[in-house]
Symmetry: C2
Subunit: 241 residues, 2 copies
Amino acid sequence: MNEQHPLGPLVRRWSRHSSLTPSDRDAIIALPHVRKTFAKDAYMVREGQRTHECSLLLRGFAYRQKLLSNGSRQIISIHIPTEFVDLQNGILGVADHSVQSLDRCEAAIIPRDALLEIAARRPALRMAMWIDTLIDASIFREWVVNVGRRDARTRVAHLLCELVVRLEKIGMGRDGMVDFPLTQEQLADCTGLTAVHTNRTLQSLRKDGLIQLNARSLTVLDWERMREVADFDELYLHQEI
Amino acid sequence: MNEQHPLGPLVRRWSRHSSLTPSDRDAIIALPHVRKTFAKDAYMVREGQRTHECSLLLRGFAYRQKLLSNGSRQIISIHIPTEFVDLQNGILGVADHSVQSLDRCEAAIIPRDALLEIAARRPALRMAMWIDTLIDASIFREWVVNVGRRDARTRVAHLLCELVVRLEKIGMGRDGMVDFPLTQEQLADCTGLTAVHTNRTLQSLRKDGLIQLNARSLTVLDWERMREVADFDELYLHQEI
DNA sequence: CGTTAATTTGAGACCATTCAATTTCGGTGG
DNA sequence: CCACCGAAATTGAATGGTCTCAAATTAACG
């Protein structure tokens, strides 16, 4: 029963962009792993650390960040369940940034060698892994655009759109409403703004009837107009379905 | 003679991060390809285009960009000789952004299927390709940090550092002096600044005796201090040697 | 229900932008 | 070789978006 198995979601994710044989699916399910729970704000990976395993997020949210010498930080990406938070580290061998949990979350820890081994033996799976890292990269590119060339309002709206779409893709959320665990300060660190200005920007989006955001819950009220305001085109997410 | 062969530089680049057997090297050299010259400012890849081939830059510089609905643009990355400008497109199948030449340049156009085929048969080469795309992604992450959380001066300095280091790695440049084909407007589109402010920022770096920049030539005069000013740590380039 | 974290508000300062004009530079034709 | 041209670089002044700092309010949590 893949449906109940902790690695079932990974099978489903990879099936979306790669065509897997039944035996590929079995190979995923057979991956050795241990489940691990992380408290809120726990480090899942530390910058500079050598990698021996990869973490697949099963429940909860996580983010990747880089700290600057002047004390500020930039969040590089947000991760939602069914995603690897550090697949690239498993390949490059050393983490060039940290990963932290956004809330209490659960992950399947898979030995790096086990992943490399199924990658070596199973063309479809290695392609699926590669594609995962390429989609990651595509999202990074869009983030460069977001922080580089969009004003605060558009920038924040774009990030919200991305998260809602990604959450809906994995079935977490309906009618534009999703669980939303980011504080405004974290939102600010995603968008390169200050927390204060992020607050004012959110108020502006609220006032215009575009979103509703409170108590861990985000709703996009007018998807049509939101998409417009956010300059949002989801092609870069490469999620055809 | 790999030294004279157009794909020789690719052998050398991949050898830096992956260990290749002689037969791997031969397989690279045997890749079918055609040489193609691009005029200055020519499109090498267009956003939305389906991919049938990948371009390896042999001479000259190129950049990837995204255009926004408000008319502005963000440059996503700069590419120098020996790099693929669109390896990820070859895998994902559709280009989510454009690639343009920065000056007159020359590329080896390799059929996508030929690359996929050596990737399928040669573990070391597929790993080398994957690593290339992962290093790309790592650079994107650093760019997010750069435009997101650094002020103009640090931001521009950081970009200059990155380019000098990457150019020196491939033997183009000595003693901090490199061929530099970016206009200030393009520099601005890399850093999310305006051309005017980029100009003032460069002047400030010049005034402080950090760089010399004119007529397609950039020299870092005080590498120690420049590194400091730029908040530059090259770990993210993943170029051990 | 107290305590801390998160959000909100206000006012002033500043970094970067905008717009417009001027100067320099690289390339081209006479 | 010089005159010319358009592109690139430079300068100035005014505007504005975002930041900073500090305080007040609200929400989360044990």
